[in-house]
Symmetry: D2
Subunit: 200 residues, 4 copies
């Protein structure tokens, strides 16, 4: 079957195992924004399962992509975001420690809710030959849902590991998961049930 | 204050009154898709208030834009969609009769959920000098919310006339409206409460 | 190899033969715009080779996509553009007669130079499983080059049939072809030299 | 006149003076790519006039935006690109020294030719309230022209300071400038002739 030619100036390294990629949305932050006090505890609660799922993904050859807000205006880098989060300390720094990016992880800085808007994410996924996305992070009814729907519009298959998303309250998170399933035709499942391309 | 130069090949006619525009999402259809039987009755119920609000908008000089799925593959036109809907008859044709596009209304055919994705909508709104969108139509927790969030990402102010959106069930619609208010920072209000730029 | 799942609401019919698609840019027009008098004769001259190449493409199962300006503001349809061109008569109508769209050809109405900007073209090509584009039409140093570069940015392979593009003067067309080859890494070749997927 | 509401999470600091912004395309590089040996000398020749024009822009309150390729895959930051360029030494490092980004300059990392493709540039310019772009850098017939046309498609006014663009040869640069003027309706002028919003 024909496929688009390998671009000379590839954004990605080796191909995504099994065509899968893991997206971690807005977990690295200095948690200085409205509602941050409500979102931080649930976010801290999902950091360990995301970290565990990330370990499985990396072992399986599934690339990991961080999608993060750039709150310091359009002058800072992802490394600044990571460093800024660690500098603040507290639960936010704890999350960042658990989810500390590896050298060969990818990242995009997003200016708005969706990780596809104003970023090279779609192109990066094409270069990775990814067709299926695991979307994790916070908040499930804000940036996560917006990113997941954008992925569907770009014809990616989307799977949301249910224990790896959170919102400002359990009630809002529960409704977000219902929204995925009921209205958006996006499957959710516990992360441990997700079969990755190779043994884990 | 500087503003972008008037493009020679403008998509729009006269400027939007008060910088406002009315968007009507997915109300013109042949209602031949999964779930159509569930969505048609609530859609029929909001057609009269949308028609009334559209009349007020037109009197006030607020441009009206239809955003519709193109289900006949990428070969059909909006006129075909309108004609197809009327040909089918029944409640769907009744909606189309109520909301029959005027000669000077605008339309975009959208390939996916959001009316901004793969369409000239953002450009059209810029040419209209619109900065505030009234988003109406169905389903509130599918194409309407996706379009409303995309409008916010493009920095438009968004207002959802609460009686002019519907979903497959009242429960889903009620939750969608909560989702707008609570998580997406999008205001909703009864359409009759919306003050339009000029007397109505 | 994994590929993106077949979307339920596909824009396209059967897959593009050999992953190829033919793009015809701005040949259907009422030729009422600045410079139209200069562009019309060279455009008329390339209409026969484009028509011949289109016949070969259709026989080979290579889908044909018309990308056209929408000069009648965002209210008209492609059928209007075709009818409007025929109504004007003269050389412009002659081109349209030669290149009259077939029922199963595709089209996008573009608001600006590039056929990818504000249109569903990238999505349509993905649904067609097209990876290689033959870009034809006018003007070679305006909409054609802008569309060809956009195709490269989306990682499509691009081939320009040299006898199927024109500009306001032979000199400008010659330079455009040099520009493709020299600066943009886009190959050009006589259309009869292009091998299509199946017998022609 | 209505304008889009000030977004809470603005990408930009204070508004662009006179609605103007300076774009510097692909001047910061390690110059390790095909053709780099041909492009480096002409690029070095335009670095001093770009630096002089940048000084005038900064004094006038015109924001400066660097748009650069990210050749290190989607893992590196703009600071890495700057540091990498300085580390290589030679003429490339000399250019980077002359054009060293200031703390309050902006930047976007672009994955492809156009600085608008897969980046937040359009949004950043909206937040700056910029409507007129000075486009500088290299190569004039590759990334510069692609960026300039994209700016026009987004309805920005574009002005190319003629002494601030270069290509692999003088001949190619001369043709690129003709292409701007003749086919793309983009004005070019010596940078010293450009009147900036405030005294310089």
């Amino acid at each position: 079957m024909p496929s688009r030619p390998k671009p000379r100036n590839a954004l990605a390294g080796r191909d995504a195992a099994g065509g899968c990629a893991l997206l971690i949305v807005d977990m690295i932050s200095d948690w200085r924004f409205a509602d941050a006090d409500k979102l931080l505890p649930p976010a801290a609660a999902i950091a360990p399962p995301i970290a565990a799922f990330k370990r499985r993904c990396r072992r399986a050859g599934v690339p990991v992509i961080y999608a993060n807000d750039n709150r310091g205006q359009w002058r800072s880098d992802f490394r600044d975001v990571v460093a800024g989060s660690l500098a603040v300390g507290g639960d936010g720094a704890g999350i960042t420690q658990l989810l500390l990016p590896h050298e060969d992880d990818y990242f995009v800085l997003k200016p708005k809710h969706s990780a596809f808007f104003g970023t090279p994410l779609d192109l990066l996924l094409q270069h990775l030959k990814a067709v299926k996305l695991f979307v994790t992070g916070a908040a499930s009814d804000q940036c996560v849902v917006t990113t997941a729907v954008a992925a569907r519009m770009h014809d990616y298959e989307v799977l949301v590991p249910r224990d790896c998303v959170a919102s400002q309250s359990d009630e809002r998170n529960r409704r977000a998961i219902e929204h995925f399933e009921q209205a958006l035709d996006i499957r959710t499942t516990p992360s441990r049930r997700i079969r990755l391309p190779r043994s884990s």
